[in-house]
């Protein structure tokens, strides 16, 4: 259990450091694998049958479907070999460490989960490509899911399914957006989305 938690946190740091978009998605899929394993271990040790369903849901959604969808999209957009610029890689890693320490200060049980969530947010802040933002958001969601597993043995089934449905729809909308964004600015660099700003008289 502790080892798996550590691995999840470790993959979060890897995500923060990963420049190539393809590797980013593979790392994200690995995080999903560890997350499903944690859920499975938790299900076996605590005898909560609902957690088996959660583990299966994670496996299907986070390990198989979303990475598969992203792979298809980047193939279609022909950006397999692109890299994302990480602004201040060293500072962002250091910031990540500080965030995790802060989480340990706040709470011991939820530290890793909160850390994964905040690292996902940090990933979104430090990147410029839309694909990285999606991975960052999904990593955030992983952190929240992890929190629900370790702290509360998962949310009630109906909520679990509702959240999974929302994440699925979000992933599909993200996919549609890639094409819209590329059509409007000729790249997936969202920093270039800057038409709308305050007009100052």
């Amino acid at each position: 259990m502790a080892i798996l938690s550590a691995l999840i946190l470790f993959t979060s740091f890897l995500l923060l450091y990963q420049k190539r978009i393809t590797n980013l998605i593979i790392t994200f899929a690995w995080q999903g694998v560890f997350l499903a394993l944690v859920t499975l271990v938790e299900a076996i040790t605590t005898q909560h049958n609902e957690l088996y369903v959660s583990a299966g849901l994670t496996l299907i959604l986070k390990v198989l479907f979303i990475p598969w969808l992203m792979r298809i999209l980047i193939n279609k957009l022909a950006i397999q070999n692109e890299t994302d610029t990480v602004s201040y890689p060293f500072v962002s890693l250091l910031g990540g460490i500080v965030l995790v320490l802060f989480c340990y200060y706040l709470s011991n049980i939820l530290a890793v989960a909160m850390g994964v969530m905040l690292l996902g947010m940090l990933l979104m802040i430090t990147r410029r490509k839309a694909v990285s933002h999606v991975v960052g958001f999904m990593a955030m969601e992983n952190g929240i899911f992890f929190a629900a597993v370790v702290a509360t043995h998962g949310m009630p089934m109906i909520v679990e399914f509702g959240v999974a449905f929302d994440v699925l729809v979000a992933a599909i909308i993200f996919g549609l957006f890639f094409f819209d964004i590329r059509d409007s600015i000729d790249s997936l660099d969202v920093d270039r989305l800057n038409r709308l700003r305050e007009d100052i008289e």
């Binding site: 702290a151 929302d166 819209d180 969202v190 007009d199 100052i200």
Partner: protein, 485 residues
């Protein structure tokens, strides 16, 4: 009970139906008929509430009380009038070639999905489902914001999407924390997700965990309310989406975030005995209110102007909930209703103005009263209502908020009065140029067919509410205020 299920079922069933209707004129009318049926169901729900009081469904998943009944009525009503406006507006968009009939099917289908997710959020007793449906409300509106597929609207939708889902993800974490803190105290662990259980066991919840959870919920749902500094997406999304969508986003969706937050405030009142909730709400509210009041002066785009006005009003409401006396809470609840009516009236008028003049730039809109008197008068009256000038009902609620604030925080009341005056000046310095004077632009060659009836309908209701509040509304709001304060 049947009325409750009907209120939810009507929009849910309509999602696939509206996706199938290809004939665009017919689709608009059917959409209007469906939303009218939804409003009638809500009226029956009100009747059930007035005779039987609070209603908890047998599975405990749905809950109806004085707080959400007025908002359900409001949501279905504005959903209906905006659907009415959508008929002519969308027909015109198709004539101009900004929209394909296929996109229109998406529009009407998502319209119903949006109505469904808002009603589910209002009726859900399960705080997890509350989150799921608010997220769904975001997801359904994203394709509608970028409906015209222009670079600007894609950018606005992207910003809206990213900021809102990240924000609302934090609210999910807050929900998990709250569930965690309550799990040991309710008999059956999974009951801790039900709002009624949290409410009845509130005195046993750990205050330390609740404080952290509340901060996450505040930031999460605060993003949806558009509280400064989490407001960045709001002017963009509200200004780039089609006008009926702006009316729904400003009029209804902002209320949903506030509704969710206040649900947790009710529990927090019983858990915490410090000022955390009231001070954070007051702080965020006041900051949003003042910031937006100043920003009103710097706008050039007519829709951005009124988007900032939404931030200003939502800020003042949040502030009033933070003050927390029963008068302030009553005022804030009343404010939520009348602001929605006025703001959707404004955006419907603005939609007509934009179709008439084919521009959103306020410098190019001149002499509306001469160009088309009913549109000019509609915009003028709606803006007077939104600015809080008597006898319109927003004045009553602002007046009550000031009275409540004077009692406890005299200096803040002074700041609010100044803020209201600044905001009023900000609106009218732009408005009087647009409404009076000589028209510069020639009327649109397509001769836009203007539908101002929904606007006058809303304005009449705001006027009546300003002079006289019906007894059922007083009962609902007083009871809700007792619950919240």
């Amino acid at each position: 009970m049947i009325a409750l299920y009907l209120t939810l079922a009507i929009p849910l069933i309509s999602i696939p139906i509206m996706a199938m209707i290809g004939h665009y004129r017919l689709a608009g009318k059917i959409n209007f008929a469906i939303t009218s049926a939804g409003f009638i169901a809500a009226v029956f729900l009100l009747k059930t509430f007035l005779t039987h009081g609070n209603l908890l469904s047998p599975t405990s998943q749905y809950y109806l009380d004085a707080f959400n009944i007025s908002l359900i009525l409001l949501t279905t009503f504005i959903g209906m009038t905006t659907a009415w406006f959508s008929v002519t507006y969308m027909e015109h968009s198709i004539k101009l070639g900004r929209l394909s009939p296929g996109n229109l099917r998406l529009y009407y289908s998502m319209y119903q999905a949006f109505m469904f997710s808002m009603l589910l959020a209002l009726l859900a007793n399960n705080i997890g489902i509350l989150w799921v449906s608010l997220e769904a409300a975001t997801l359904t509106t994203v394709p509608l914001v970028s409906l015209y597929r222009s670079p600007e609207s894609v950018e606005a939708a992207w910003k809206y999407f990213i900021l809102c889902i990240v924000g609302i993800a934090l609210a999910l974490f807050g929900t998990v924390l709250l569930y965690f803190s309550a799990q040991k105290i309710t008999g059956n662990p999974s009951d801790a997700i039900l709002w009624t259980m949290l409410y009845s066991h509130a005195n046993l919840i750990d205050p330390a965990i609740f404080s952290i959870a509340f901060i996450f919920l505040l930031v999460g749902y605060g993003t949806k309310i558009g509280l400064v500094p989490l407001h960045n997406w709001l002017p963009d999304a509200h200004s780039e989406s089609p006008a009926p969508m702006s009316a729904l986003l400003s009029g209804l969706l902002l209320n949903m975030g506030l509704y969710a937050l206040i649900r947790f405030k009710i529990i927090g009142n019983l858990v915490l005995n410090n000022h955390l909730i009231s001070y954070t709400l007051m702080g965020f509210g006041l900051l949003s209110f003042l910031f937006a009041a100043v920003m009103l002066h710097r706008q050039r785009n007519i829709k951005r102007l009124y988007s900032y006005s939404s931030i200003e009003h939502m800020g003042l409401m949040t502030f009033a909930f933070g003050v927390g006396t029963s008068l302030a809470t009553f005022a804030a609840l009343f404010y939520m209703l009348v602001h929605s009516l006025a703001k959707s009236a404004v955006f419907i008028s603005v939609g007509n103005v934009i179709q008439l003049t084919s521009t959103q730039s306020m410098e190019k809109i001149r002499g509306l009263l001469k160009l088309k008197p009913e549109v000019g008068w509609g915009l003028l009256l709606a803006t007077i209502a939104i600015a809080g000038i008597p006898p319109f009902a927003i004045f009553n609620s602002e007046f009550m908020i000031i009275m409540a604030t004077v009692h406890n925080y005299l200096w803040l009341a002074l700041i609010i009065v100044i803020g209201i005056v600044v905001a009023l000046a900000g609106l009218f310095r732009h408005l009087q140029l647009m409404v009076y004077g000589e028209p510069t632009s020639t009327p649109d060659t397509y001769q836009a067919e203007c539908n101002m009836w929904p606007v006058f309908c809303h304005i009449a209701i705001i006027l009546i509410l300003g002079l006289y509040t019906p007894s059922f509304l007083v009962t609902c709001l007083t009871e809700a205020a007792k619950l919240i304060s």
